[in-house]
Amino acid sequence: MASVASSIDTVSGSAVRPRRYMDRKSLVPLLLFLPPALLLFTVFVVLPMIDAGTFSFFDWTGYGPITDFVGFDNYEDVITHRNFGTAVRNSLIVVAVSLLIQLPLAMWAAIALSERGTHVNILRTIFFVPYMLAEIAAGLIWKFVYDGNYGLVPIIGDAIGQKLPFVLADKLWVIPAIMLVIIWKYFGFHMMIYIAGLQSIPSEVIEAARLDGVKKWKIVWHIKLPMIWSAIVVSVFFSITGALQLFDLIIPLTGGGPQNTSHTIVTFLYQFGILRMKLGFGGAVSVMLFIACVIVAIVYRRLLFRAEQT
């Protein structure tokens, strides 16, 4: 909104006027465009958040009035729950793998595929298709791939003469198996963000560097990456918040198993809060997740702000 208001200010040549939000010319678009977004945001984001926050202090099954106030008991139950630590650890693993493996991979693919051409277009589409699949469908597809009786994994095992484990039933393999699906599913999305950024770099800059004999990796490091910095910022942010909210791939793949070892924070919330009719418990988890996300957002903004200033 601010940018709309300020751009109008510039057009009308009154950029320095004080209390510019009261400007008649900016007030109209403000009144016109803000209410729908604000209303939707309030009804579907703010109110449910306040609700969840309220539930978290009550013992409530989801039925009837909310009367049984229990203070911070739900929070204590969450923290001492025997599967909560695993869920948090898994979510952090997803964040780490997303940042350290998925994004570099996406960047590498983007740099390789940023030039124009038919074969390039085909490859880009192939990498992007998984992102367009519904999460549930992708989860089901990979459940079949990993199936130790009828899936692709035992076929590969036969081909190399090795007995491969039932990965989704194996405590050790289940997390790497899920990570592979996540990378497969989302790296195309980040690749597209980077490609869009790379294509906006004026070709003269790259050409000039080439003529000056700058090595290829140096062009990437000193010219391309800095010039698509804003794209990277966006993609890192999506990557972290997406990882923290990971839910609908896990449910069809493992349902959180084996032995509740593959839960993320959100599947933990769903399994132990909602499905077990302990909405207060679920509310407590969601408040904690919300606080974690806010902290990430603030810290991230701070860091970026500093980075932009230097």
Binding site: T61, G62, Y63, G64, R82, K143, Y146, D147, G148, N149, F166, V167, L168, A169, T254, G255, G257, P258, Q259, N260, Q271, F272, I274, L275, R276, M277, K278
Partner: protein
């Protein structure tokens, strides 16, 4: 207008339902019956909100037990004991009436059918491994038989531990045998040591004895109920501890869609355990039916009395969709397995309701968790028992 929210997805069954509704509408032209459908899991997830909204159906499916008690307590149901005819109450019998009577003494619904968890077995594989089904009657004989299958290179048991509830049938059956009705009810009420008591720890220990033999199909922890059911239906496992509905589901889930032919399929009684406090006739299973929501009209009760009457139930029983609870309606069944199961239940000293339903979702969920872990030999019997006890204590 009467809305009955159901969870039936088999086309033939839905057709029968619609026919019955049409018949009622023809006789009562001023009433309109609607049969909206929700898929099983969606139904469970959505019902909480639905019942507290203006869109609440008049009649909806219920498995009874803990969720029903919560609904009754919250006042989202309509008591119907004064509206319902004595004939209808008599027809569903005392077990049916008590299953849908809440702690406050009010009757909130009607029982429709019964289900039992039985040990299905594949006769061909028993012959192949040289195991005599009669030798499986005791726990020791059962373990010996399982070992024989292992030695013969045949998977003894299929289980869908990803969904957890199939594993909880094992724990439940052992508890039914070891603790019996009184022991279970006392533990559920939190009396004495509750679920951490001796019998329940023992149930875990027996479960671990079985798990130690590694009796399940490979990758059982990633197998859903459907996967396990198909595995058994494909003739790859000798036994499957599952509800009577698996008779049809096992065929549907098998690769050939044919499943195991009737003459090669059998039902074993769950092994008895020496010194167990349960009655040998005790069964484990379901008793489900219908509930009336708060704003249900008298008309809805009248409709259900017809829809759930012996005459209508018989048609469903005959087609094999469920085992009717109405007195005499089960006689119409022709499928020998269903007939036997019907007899088991009517002759049972105690028909235990699925534990994860009876104990409510919070405790039932923990029972399911620890059962899946016991099946994987990943938790001690003591710890499993204590986790269930803690969950009960939390709800008291």
């Amino acid at each position: 207008m009467v809305k009955y929210l159901h969870i039936a997805s088999i086309p033939g069954e839905v057709e029968l339902m619609q026919k019955a509704a049409d018949e009622y509408m023809a006789a009562n032209p001023n009433v309109k019956i609607e049969l909206p459908f929700l898929e099983n899991e969606a139904f469970k997830a959505k019902l909480t909100t639905l019942l507290q909204s203006a869109e609440a159906p008049d009649i909806f499916h219920s498995w009874g037990g803990g969720v029903f008690y919560e609904q009754a307590k919250a006042g989202v149901l309509r008591p119907v004991e004064d509206v319902m005819s004595q004939a209808a109450k008599d027809e569903m019998g005392s077990a049916g009436v008590s299953a849908f009577t809440a702690a406050d003494g009010h009757l909130y619904g009607m029982a429709r059918d019964v289900a039992e968890v039985v040990l299905w077995y594949n006769k061909t594989l028993f012959e192949q491994a040289g195991v005599d089904p009669a030798s499986m009657g005791t726990w020791d004989g059962f373990l010996a038989g399982v070992q024989k299958f292992k030695d013969a290179g045949i998977t003894p048991l299929a289980v869908g531990a990803k969904d957890k509830w199939p594993a909880h049938f094992w724990w439940s059956k052992l508890v039914v045998r070891l603790a019996g009705q009184d022991g279970f009810n006392a533990a559920a009420a939190g009396e004495g040591d509750g679920f951490a008591g001796e019998d329940f720890v023992k149930a875990g220990e027996y479960f671990l004895q079985l798990a130690a033999l590694n009796p399940w199909q490979e990758g059982f922890e990633a197998a859903s109920y459907g996967d396990a059911s198909g595995y058994f239906g494909d003739g790859k496992a000798a036994m499957h501890l599952m509800g009577d509905w698996d008779y049809g589901a096992m065929k549907d889930n098998s690769a050939s869609k044919q499943g195991i032919p009737d003459d090669q399929l059998g039902i074993l009684p769950f092994p008895t355990i020496e010194g167990g406090k349960g009655d040998p006739t005790d069964t484990l299973g379901g008793l489900s039916g219908y509930l009336f929501s708060k704003n249900a009209s008298d008309e809805a009760v009248k409709f259900l009395e017809f829809y759930n009457s012996k005459a209508v139930q018989e048609k469903f029983g005959q087609a094999g969709y469920y085992i009717p609870i109405a007195k005499g309606a089960a006689d119409s069944m022709t499928n020998p397995f269903k007939v036997q199961i019907g007899k088991n239940i009517s002759g049972a000293h105690w028909h235990a309701l699925f534990f994860d339903q009876a104990l409510g979702p919070a405790v039932g969920g923990v029972v399911n968790d620890v059962s899946a872990e016991l099946a994987a030999n990943a938790i001690s019997a003591q710890e499993a028992a204590e986790l269930v006890k803690e969950a009960v204590d939390d709800t008291l």
